[in-house]
């Protein structure tokens, strides 16, 4: 943030500097401790996996195991394949969402047309609909038409998560874009398509990047779709991680921790790169940042 001028209420709500700092630190101890503990657990040897030491000699063995093994005795997980599958599924879903979502977002942001509000509201309602309502019929349909446990099936269903997100975020970006620029281009003899392609699209590029990355994160973090609509072939990172927990009490603690860290890394990195646009994305544009 470039400028740190006084923000509204800042001077007012400032009671007790040290107490406030301590309160903040208390929250962040709570917020960061689980992540720190995961990191420690992932760096321990299998013999130390049930220990509560904070000091030990760290090893990268668990990460190597998770990334190279085609599964341990108890889990049949191939984590590396799960990562590639997740990349394919999420990348595919985001790509399709952008191709379909950008024109719709442009239409909804530029023009008010009959049915546009209904279309937008229907998409927003997907955000709040209980997933199983759709997954159970899809489970039946997928089993019948052979989309069960395929990436095509996963990409299709991930639209439910990514497309509404893309449309809602980009709609507000297009709506905020002054129309004069496109009008000027049209008067210069540009076609509508060219004006969109050369003027409007480049100007919302930050929005597109933010929408795409956020959609990718949401798709990556999704658990229920691959849990129910995929088995082994199209299984993703989130499902793979839980399989390290084992069934009857037997668990690979430090492998679980290493896998959890690896699985959380892509969203974390992406989130840090789009931090500025996160508010608008997370709230579906309901709160503009």
């Amino acid at each position: 943030m470039a400028t740190r001028e006084l923000k509204p209420g800042q001077r007012r709500i400032t009671g007790g500097g040290i107490v406030a700092d301590l309160a903040i630190i208390a929250w962040f101890v709570f917020a960061l401790f689980p992540i720190l503990w995961m990191i420690l657990l992932a760096l321990k040897t299998p013999a130390e996996q049930t220990s509560t030491y904070f000091v030990f000699s760290p090893t990268l063995e668990n990460f190597v195991t998770v990334l190279t093994d085609r599964g341990t005795e108890l889990t049949s997980v191939d984590f590396k394949t799960a990562i590639l599958t997740s990349l394919l599924n999420c990348g595919g879903a985001v790509l399709v969402s952008l191709l379909i979502g950008i024109p719709a977002a442009y239409a909804a942001g530029r023009w008010k047309f009959r049915g546009s509000d209904d279309l937008m509201f229907t998409m927003l309602s997907f955000r709040f609909a209980p997933e199983l309502m759709v997954i159970v019929p899809l489970f039946v349909i997928y089993n019948q038409i052979g989309l069960f446990d395929t990436s095509v099936g996963m990409i299709w269903v991930l639209q439910l998560v990514t497309m509404p997100l893309v449309v809602w975020i980009l709609r507000s970006y297009f709506a905020d874009l002054p129309e004069d620029l496109e009008q000027a281009a049209l008067l210069d003899g540009y076609t509508r398509l060219r004006a969109f392609w050369m003027i409007a699209l480049p100007m919302v590029r930050p929005g597109i990047a933010a929408a795409a990355l956020l959609a990718f994160i949401f798709a990556w973090n999704n658990y229920m779709f691959p849990l129910i609509l995929a088995d082994s072939a199209a299984s993703t990172v989130t499902v793979a991680i839980t399989s390290y927990l084992g069934g009857g009490g037997q668990a690979y603690y430090n492998l679980t921790a290493a896998a959890a860290l690896l699985g959380a890394l892509p969203p974390l990195i992406l989130a840090l790169t789009i931090q500025r646009y996160l508010v608008r994305g997370l709230s579906f544009g309901a709160v503009k940042s």
């Binding site: 239409a107 159970v136 019929p137």
Partner: protein, 322 residues
């Protein structure tokens, strides 16, 4: 909303139009009105198709609720409201409703209060606040299921670090019948409080400065200006956070499924976990869909109500700012 773009002629004279682009609709002659009017619809066609593609299974799921469809009975028959009668007469269903509502209300309230406090604290722009603002989002970006895995390891009575750090000893079980629901809420609070804090912080930073300066000049105390100025103006932002959190809590699944799978017994069997058990584990698609349809009705009514409250709050806040 501004005037439709198509009011002005789309293209210049034909000889201006060098590229020619080859697309029939964009040739040099002025675009006919009907085509201009159709444009937003044409652009929306793919999205509408996808929406229909999602609505189709949704409607199918609603129909399942009126059939007796299960893996054991692949030739379903229409049985009217029999599923609803059976589900609504089942004490487990009402337990699920109670568990879901308890979870949603407690988690939403705790996250909102904590989130607002954190936003206010971070807004002070102290060094500590500036450092931590950067990492605020970390838990929020970790998949809820991974958060569930992390906390499951920490909750373990024998090996988990939580009992060790808190000095509780191995007899305290976070995922016992009495504690499991509250432990699930703790995990929810851990993941989603940053969401409220981020939204509220963005709201605070978008507030106009003048009213606060005026109240400063008037010598009002900070509690007074917080209650009379900031809270009313912040209310729409807080409500947006409340709506998102409450709606998501009603359909909570991921981290509870990892932590307890709905147990012990039915202690954490929320509605969506119950529906998962019925339709995926027992493969009784109709019964699971009945659960979901009822949950959907709850979600829909709540959404309608909360959105109308939000609309009122936004109008009031807009009035207060002027």
């Amino acid at each position: 909303m501004t005037a439709p773009a198509g009011e002005k002629p789309d293209t210049g004279s034909p000889d201006d139009h060098r590229a020619g682009s080859g697309r029939a609709g964009d040739s040099g002659t002025p675009v006919p009105g009907w085509r201009r009017r159709m444009r937003p619809y044409l652009l929306s066609v793919p999205a509408v198709l996808v929406v229909i593609g999602i609505l189709y299974p949704f409607v199918l799921g609603a129909i399942y609720a009126f059939l007796n469809y299960s893996a054991a009975n692949p030739d379903p028959r229409f049985i009217g409201f029999a599923n609803f009668v059976s589900v609504l007469g089942d004490t487990d269903f009402w337990a699920s409703v109670r568990i879901t509502l308890t979870y949603a209300v407690v988690a939403t309230v705790v996250e909102t209060v904590l989130g607002v406090i954190i936003a206010l604290l971070l807004n002070r722009s102290s060094l500590v606040g500036r450092i931590f603002e950067r990492v605020l989002i970390l838990p929020l970006m970790i998949a809820p299921v991974i958060a569930g895995v992390i906390w499951k390891l920490m909750f373990n009575p024998q090996f988990g670090v939580l009992n060790y750090v808190l000095g509780l000893g191995s007899s305290f079980d976070w995922l016992s019948r009495d504690m499991a629901l509250w432990s699930s809420i703790i995990v929810d609070v851990w993941i989603f409080t940053p969401f409220v804090a981020i939204l509220v912080l963005a709201g605070i930073r978008s507030l106009p400065r003048e009213p606060f300066e005026a109240s400063d000049v008037d010598g009002a105390g900070w509690w007074y200006s917080f209650r009379r100025l900031m809270l009313p103006m912040m209310w729409p932002y807080i409500l947006v956070a409340v709506i998102f959190r409450f709606m998501d809590c009603l359909k909570v699944f991921d981290h509870i499924y990892v932590l307890t799978a709905g147990g012990p017994g039915i202690a954490t069997r929320t509605l969506q976990i119950g529906a998962y058990e019925d339709s995926i584990i027992f493969q009784n698609y109709s019964r699971g869909s009945t659960y979901m349809l009822l949950l959907w009705v709850i979600v829909f009514i709540t959404a309608r109500y909360l959105v109308s409250v939000l609309g009122k709050a936004q109008r009031r806040a807009a009035g207060a700012e002027e």
